[in-house]
């Protein structure tokens, strides 16, 4: 599983961080950082939920 963020769409709402803080972190500079681009399979449900809940639909998961 590979996490891809479209930074042209991302608005740093930080919803993804609320759901999967192991993978997504919005820092003090207001930008989103992906902490694990290839997170382990046990995080799949959380990452998929983060992708669904992103208000900008900026997160995609490549298998």
């Amino acid at each position: 599983m590979k996490v891809v963020v479209n930074y042209d769409l991302c608005e740093s709402n930080a919803v993804c961080m609320g759901i999967a803080p192991e993978v997504f972190e919005v820092r003090d500079d207001d930008y989103l950082y992906v902490l694990q681009e290839e997170p382990p399979e046990e995080l799949r449900d959380k990452v998929e939920e983060a992708a669904r809940r992103c208000p900008k639909q900026a997160i995609t998961i490549e298998d």
Binding site: E11, S12, N13, A14, G18, E25, V26, P55, Q57
Partner: protein, 402 residues
């Protein structure tokens, strides 16, 4: 085989339909919506699409790309027009009438209008058609736009119109913008933000009426006797849940479809999104939430509740106890709030300052933290939200900040 009808193809309805499939429901799923095309994702309608930065296609719902794999019987241009809750029979605008095993009510809300006929040059903003009609009139370069109502739509439209270079007057009958969701102390910040950007903000004054000439608006009369000349007027005075089709259905209607705490409105019938009213056990308050994230979360929840009704796998009878959350982008500021504060709550500034337009406040009611509000502080808001989701206890939330 079971058959589900989803009334409404916007965010809550399509999320519910997608959730049914994700949980393995393999019966027929019919989705109806009066819109002739797939309804858009709405947040960009008051921002990127209205500004002209985006074309309409860019505001497609995320689920649009996955529609094929969901195997829905999607009937756009068809509305649900009547329901009998006892038999779960639904009449559609195409003249058909039949019973379904399960029904998801997600018919959303429609904009409230000023009394009387609407002259040319007066707009509401809810659908893509509304947005493009307003955009076309803005493209003609009106001297002044008057925005009536400073809720999310009004405040964002005012900001977008300023960004396009139009002179804007923002009229709000309440004491501050976003007053229905924000306690007053932070509402006044939103007033200042708009004043900073050159908006003529009039708060605490209602609208007496519109003046028109030759069928076209030329001014707005305020209750205090002032008249503001306007070539273009946007009315953003809230929305009303779309429940007219449910009159006489047997469901309880009271500013929305009244549900139990699990989103169940009657046996085999759930509701989600702007149209649903339910008691949120996290706050002990009955609420109806007109927010993007709630449409997703409640759509998912209602679908699982319906699966439990159908005795299907993936069902759940858990109460729906979300922590409401919204964002609103105005100018270069990102405004976010989580929780459910009331006007009487204490407000404590815990990070940044109003002067730099970058701060976090917490709301307090005794030992409880009822919410967090931030401007250009998404990380802090989300950290507080995560703690609030664990517990509304004041100490741990306050402890996140210096």
């Amino acid at each position: 085989m079971s058959e589900v009808l989803v009334a409404g193809a916007s965010l809550a309805g399509l999320t519910a339909a997608e959730t049914l499939r994700r949980e393995g429901f393999d019966g027929r799923v019919t989705v109806v919506d009066p819109s002739p095309g797939l309804p858009p994702d709405r947040p960009p309608l008051s921002k990127q699409v209205l500004s002209g930065e985006w074309e309409p296609e860019q505001a497609a719902q995320g689920v649009a790309a996955r529609l094929d794999e969901l195997d829905l019987d999607l009937r756009l241009g068809t509305a649900a027009v009547a329901l009998d809750a006892a038999t779960r029979e639904v009449a559609l605008s195409d003249g058909s009438r039949r019973a379904y095993d399960g029904i998801v009510i997600a018919t959303g809300a429609s904009p409230r209008e000023l009394p009387g006929p609407r002259p040319a040059g007066v707009h509401v903003l809810r659908t893509m058609e509304d947005c493009l009609a307003l955009r076309a009139e803005l493209d003609a370069g009106p001297d002044r736009v008057v925005v009536i109502g400073a809720g999310f739509i009004g405040a964002e439209v005012a900001a977008t119109c300023r960004g396009r270079g139009h002179a804007v007057t923002l009229v709000e009958a309440g004491p501050a913008p976003l007053g229905r969701v924000l306690p007053g102390a932070v509402g006044s910040f939103v007033t200042e933000l708009h004043v900073d950007h050159g908006v003529d903000v009039r708060v605490g004054v209602g609208v007496a009426g519109l003046d028109a000439e030759g069928g076209r608006v030329r001014g707005v009369r305020l209750a205090d006797g002032h008249e503001i000349p306007a070539e273009l007027v946007v009315v953003g005075i809230g929305v009303a849940p779309v429940t007219g089709w449910l009159e006489g259905s047997g469901l309880v209607l009271d500013d929305g479809v009244v549900c139990d705490e699990t989103c169940l409105a009657a046996a085999g019938i759930v509701a989600a999104g702007d149209v649903a009213r339910w008691p949120n056990p996290r706050f002990g308050v009955t609420m109806r939430v007109e927010q993007w994230e709630n449409a997703v979360e409640q759509g998912e929840h209602a679908a699982r509740r319906l699966l439990a009704e159908l005795g299907a796998p993936g069902g759940s009878e858990e109460p729906y106890a979300p922590l409401p959350w919204f964002w609103s982008d105005q100018y270069d500021r990102k405004i976010q709030m989580a929780g459910h504060p009331s006007a009487s709550d204490e407000v404590e500034l815990v990070e940044g300052s109003f002067a730099e337009r970058r701060f976090v406040t917490l709301f307090r009611d005794g030992d409880r933290c009822t919410g967090v509000f931030g401007v250009n502080r998404p990380r802090h808001v989300m950290q507080a939200r995560m703690q609030l989701a664990e517990s509304l206890e004041w100490g741990p939330v306050r402890g996140l900040f210096g």
